[in-house]
């Protein structure tokens, strides 16, 4: 209960401050956000877009961990968790893709540029999509759990290769990518003032809490469903 209220307060605050605080070229007061050259008001997307992308990765990892747990223990409740995490991950992945694409249209001039991060999220979408088509194609529950767990693990094992391949093949537009003079290191590091950083990390925490809540809800509904199914 405490977490739910904390989540409510935190995300509301993130929305109000993240979108509401004025921007100024030379921030003086605590409430003024710095203007990032070339981005302007559009920089505010970072408070919402990055957490969704972050969650789609977290969800994928969660799903994989529970997939391994299922194969070791053969307990269907792990499969429920694995697929619940994957379902949420898919949703957040779509959100990240859409918010990113709309924003890219206004900042980079087109919805899609095949920049490394866009490519990686595209791959993640493909994996999620394949995962769910596989699940819908298997009827027996135990078999479905085993096959989709195996697939999730195989997919997860190949994902790190993209990290090595992407920079070789394409130059990036996202902050932190190769070819970006400002950015060094991951996306979070780019020229954020302390107050922006607080909002950003609060947003990460809030979104993670939201994910956790939705995740437990999904697991619980699935368990109720499974119970009803069992009783016929």
């Amino acid at each position: 209960m405490v977490l739910k209220i904390l989540l409510g307060v935190l995300l509301t605050a993130v929305i109000i401050f993240g979108l509401g605080l004025p921007m100024s070229p030379h921030p003086q007061a605590w409430y003024e956000l710095p203007v990032i050259p070339g981005l302007g008001e559009k920089a505010r997307i970072i408070f919402f877009h990055v957490p969704t992308a972050w969650l789609s990765v977290v969800a994928f990892l969660t799903s994989m961990v529970y997939a391994i747990a299922y194969l070791r223990k053969r307990d269907l409740s792990y499969d429920i968790r694995s697929s619940a995490a994957a379902g949420l991950g898919f949703m957040f992945c779509i959100l990240a893709t859409l918010t990113g694409a709309v924003w890219a249209k206004f900042n980079w001039g087109s919805y899609w540029n095949w920049d490394p991060r866009e490519t990686s999220i595209f791959v993640l979408l493909l994996i999620y999509g394949a995962y769910f088509s596989l699940r819908s194609a298997v009827e027996t529950e135990e078999k479905r759990a085993a096959l989709s767990s195996a697939y999730a693990i195989i997919a997860a094992v190949t994902v790190p290769f993209f990290i090595f391949i992407m920079p070789r093949i394409m130059t990036g537009l996202h902050p932190g990518a190769k070819g970006d003079p400002e950015g060094a290191g991951p996306v979070v590091e780019f020229k954020m003032s302390p107050n922006m950083r607080i909002i950003f990390f609060s947003s990460l925490v809030a979104f993670t809490l939201l994910f956790y809540w939705m995740f437990t809800l999904r697991v619980r509904t699935a368990q109720v469903e499974a119970h009803n199914h069992q009783r016929g």
Binding site: R74, T140, Q230
Partner: protein
Amino acid sequence: MSGRVHLAGEGLRKEYDRRPVFGNVSFSASAGETLLITGRNGSGKTTLVKIICGVLTPGGGTLSLTTNPHDPSRDRRGLIGLVSPYLQMFDEFSAVENLAIAMGIRGLPFDPRAADALLERVAIFPRRHDQVRTYSSGMKQRVKYAFALIHTPPVLVLDEPMTNLDVEGIAIVRTIMAEQRRHGILVVATNDLSDIDTYERRVDLDEGR
């Protein structure tokens, strides 16, 4: 030759789609004994057979198969032969080739004379070089007996042993069953009790429902 074989199941259970097929099945049998598995359609005879053969993991409980002296060159697969209606031969190969493939995949040396003798016994010998797909269903069933016996398993598992067989086939199978009981364990899953005259152990899957 196979020493003292012992097959035991303890508290075996299996679920499909969260629905129990059977729960808490226990049995044991030693060399020279016949284990009979009976139960209505859908009571899980085939499931239990597959668990005994090691191709299906039980949902719970333990299954042990021991030989004495222990023979390390053979794993569980090498100790069991299965004949069942849902078992299929590699039907673009001939009967002899099927036996050679079976021995090769088991990692064991293939003896063509032993194979010929076995095919002679199940009365397939004259057509042993024809592709299995050209056989009638009764002949296929006979090839399965050769397939299950080629590695002289101490445990022979028969699911509905008389399926598709004519009078001659039934007589062949009866002698095979009698012989298996002399040196090893015979497991038969059937509802037709006229197939089998004597048995020492019995699992009734209808019990406790």
